[in-house]
Symmetry: C2
Subunit: 353 residues, 2 copies
Amino acid sequence: MPSARLAHARPLDLRNGRIELAFGAGGRAMAQLITELFARAFANDWLARGDDGAVLPAPGPGERLVMATDAHVVSPLFFRGGDIGSLSVHGTVNDLAVMGARPLYLAASFILEEGFPLADLARIVDSMAAAARAAGVAVVTGDTKVVEQGKGDGVFITTTGIGALPAGRDPGGAQARPGDVVLLSGRIGDHGMAIMAQRESLAFDAEIVSDSAPLNGLVEALYAAVPAAAIRVLRDPTRGGLATTLNEIATQSGVGMTLEEAAIPVAPQVHAACELLGLDPLYVANEGKLVVLCAPAHADAVLAALRAHPLGTEAARIGAATADAQHFVQVRTALGGRRMVDWLAGEQLPRIC
Amino acid sequence: MPSARLAHARPLDLRNGRIELAFGAGGRAMAQLITELFARAFANDWLARGDDGAVLPAPGPGERLVMATDAHVVSPLFFRGGDIGSLSVHGTVNDLAVMGARPLYLAASFILEEGFPLADLARIVDSMAAAARAAGVAVVTGDTKVVEQGKGDGVFITTTGIGALPAGRDPGGAQARPGDVVLLSGRIGDHGMAIMAQRESLAFDAEIVSDSAPLNGLVEALYAAVPAAAIRVLRDPTRGGLATTLNEIATQSGVGMTLEEAAIPVAPQVHAACELLGLDPLYVANEGKLVVLCAPAHADAVLAALRAHPLGTEAARIGAATADAQHFVQVRTALGGRRMVDWLAGEQLPRIC
């Protein structure tokens, strides 16, 4: 809502100012925050209109809508490889991408704590805008609320996305069949351990960088390489890690899984940090990795397509779905033994995303 | 994600249990919360699928999409006339409705504070589900995060909605023209003063009930009564109240406005509570009121349509848009004087929605 009258007000102090309750009150201060920060960073006609929502073209003929939402409460707000702004774009873009959809539009809702530095907010919003541009999505509408100091924690961001699902694409957690090949786009545990290393001030701090990235390009590369029906399941193994994601799929599809531990890529510094903290990388969150279950006849083509993409150079075939009435996920260890990999129980890494 | 294995776990204690960090961890506890609380209350096939998003039919031919989002941080969580659950449905349904859209789908994102009683969460989720059913929308996807005690405040809910905008409907804050008639669907200030009365334990407490309600039925009644082009602007005067909403419209459309104070309905107990607290009802939030600016030739038909609907029985014609290069909103007082009604400055009622 750009305004002649608002132009007379003193501009926001984006260097030294802080969030006040008035920024969430619906009045002049909120209008300034929207105009001088959000609408400028996300620059598009939908936001510039200043209405209560965005009017968007419907998807193409034969396409269905996909909708996904994610709240982001990551702590710390800034970490190696990203921040809550870029993460909040990647989180929802990836939820749409693993549904097989082309992400189009994002809505962003901010819950700000009174006293939060405007400079930090501006940095987060700029990062969000850059991540949205890189992923090819527009932030078309938003909302801002402010809570009193001590009733929030800096900034929480909920992003909700709309994507278009082309005809013929129907990946889903319930589509896996015994014999399907399980592929992984790269090494696991980077995001979770980047956050942990920074929180705990570990010496590994400098070496571990979050993998936070938008997966929609990688997903499009897969659909360009193999028939859509060959792609049974797509998932990004976030909270709960690879182990929990595979258990979810096993349960939804009514299959078991057998994985080869030696085939699952883990960076040496992530492995070391996990050992130090007593964590299993299989349960550590990722924010830029893709799990694919595909028909066995197309597994080589899927692997080649993953490896040909910058986000999948370390992709690997890590196992297969099996017929198992109990839906167990098992790992064959390097030494030839087998161990069960259950759902994550309890909480090992709060506020990882 | 209903699961044979999850069925073996002890069910959630929805009477005496409390939110633990594990409920946001992506593992078994979160799956239980989704299955036993959210999916059960919002019962639909999209949620039951347990995927990362919902696949939805696109709107009908010629229809555009509308997207709107709202974070809800209201305090207290339960108030006369509603709670954060019903409010979070009405807030986003109304944002879609005032864009002229038929609300279809909602996404719900929860940020929960560790230690929050599960019984309160269940009550909120049930209220949300009932409000969604009453408004004719489905909660198709969601997300849950948990923050440590002292880093949140019970529960925050962001709802994001998708609506379908029929061809020919194009209301917007920038569409008002000098001469347009300003109508209001009923008395103002009920929501804000219900919250304030409860917070301050005023004697009016029992008498003031929030007007929180879904406006999509009322909007459809208007479009059934007059040509779509006659409806220039629709808005729900929430944060900042009627005064701020009309200033926004004046600024967006480049017009002035003149209102008749005596024509603006205010309940006597709201008037009394406002006097006691030194508030102006024009700036107090509403959650179930509609502002309409329409072409003068159709104002009588709009008023009749409003009054024929249960949510508009006290509807009134309250003023008109004027040609004014300064975009001032003015009120003619009962005594014949005029006063300027500016944007809300500062914050009078934090966390009203």
